[in-house]
């Protein structure tokens, strides 16, 4: 179980890195960055996982709970990721209205 999650983390991070390296379209670069961010969030959750544990909501039916601290951290990270993506997309809108394209251009002034 925990190895499947580590494998998924590595796949997500690698897919994001590949997109950032190879794509010239800035929209695709931002999508790749979001995929990498998902991988990092999954890694944090996985580190806090305890085998056999359930979600840390204590209504008395379960004996074992997973670590709540990484989950609180990931809640913060998701919100920060959304706001960074929104800012990046509005910069991209400005770029598109100046350059007329979403492709990265060498030596563009704007």
């Amino acid at each position: 179980m925990i190895w499947a999650m580590y494998f998924a983390v590595a796949v997500l991070l690698t897919a994001g890195l590949y997109g950032v390296i190879t794509k010239k379209n800035l929209m695709k670069v931002f999508i790749s960055l979001s995929i990498m961010e998902t991988g990092v969030n999954l890694l944090l959750i996985t580190i806090g996982y305890i085998p056999g544990g359930t979600a840390p909501i204590e209504n008395g039916n379960f004996a074992k709970y997973v670590d709540p601290v990484p989950q609180a951290l990931v809640l913060t990270a998701i919100v920060i990721g959304v706001s960074v993506t929104a800012l990046a997309l509005s910069l991209l809108i400005m770029y598109h209205s100046k350059a007329g394209t979403l492709e990265y251009k060498e030596g563009m002034k704007w």
Binding site: Y6, V9, A10, A15, I21, T22, L75, T76, V82, S83
Partner: protein, 241 residues
Amino acid sequence: MRKLAGIVIAGIFFISMMMLFYHLPASHDLSSNEYYYRNPINGSVANESIPEHYIKYTKNETGAVNAVTAIVVEYRGFDTLGEVTVLFTAATGVSFLLSLAVRGRKREEANLILKEGSKLVLPFILLTGAYIFIHGHLTPGGGFPGGSVVASGFLLMMLAYPKFFMKDRISWFESAAGTAFVVIGLLGLVLATSFLQNFIPVGTPGQLVSAGIIPLIYIAIGFKVGSELSAIVNKMKEVQG
């Protein structure tokens, strides 16, 4: 060439990540590590780790059943205030950048099904969002997911009615919610001992009216996130692409 370089670099990265994870200790090994119990400030050694402490005492200390909510709003509430500030800064940046862009996008009218259906669905979306952020201390969820659900309801209205326009009054909601967060924190400073400390009786854990200031703060966060995300979407809608 670029693709080949990408595949090589990504392959090396994948293999090194898997090697790293092979050596990474899992959390149940970590909590048997002595380092997990030592206070870094005065060097004293506790007899339980931090996650154990949270899971054991959250319910009695804060009255919240959901330990994640208790950590986000109560134990690390100041961190959450910073997080809300980051979201506010991003919303301000988006509206500043898009005010420089060309306005006046032309949209076609949406079809009948979308127009009438969104009118029917909108109250239920808002109700679900409110449910999620009011029950933040009892069930999974809270102010941030609930606020996002509310914003998605307004996004649906913007898709169905191209002329649907959020007035500037939405920033009143945002400022009022942010002010409420800080005022609750300052009341904690005045009535209890420190900023964002609980000053209301915690009540019975598991009831809707319990957990002191946690539901109040999460309702404020829900309003703030909902109005901020709606404002961001509203700004992006106006721009000519």
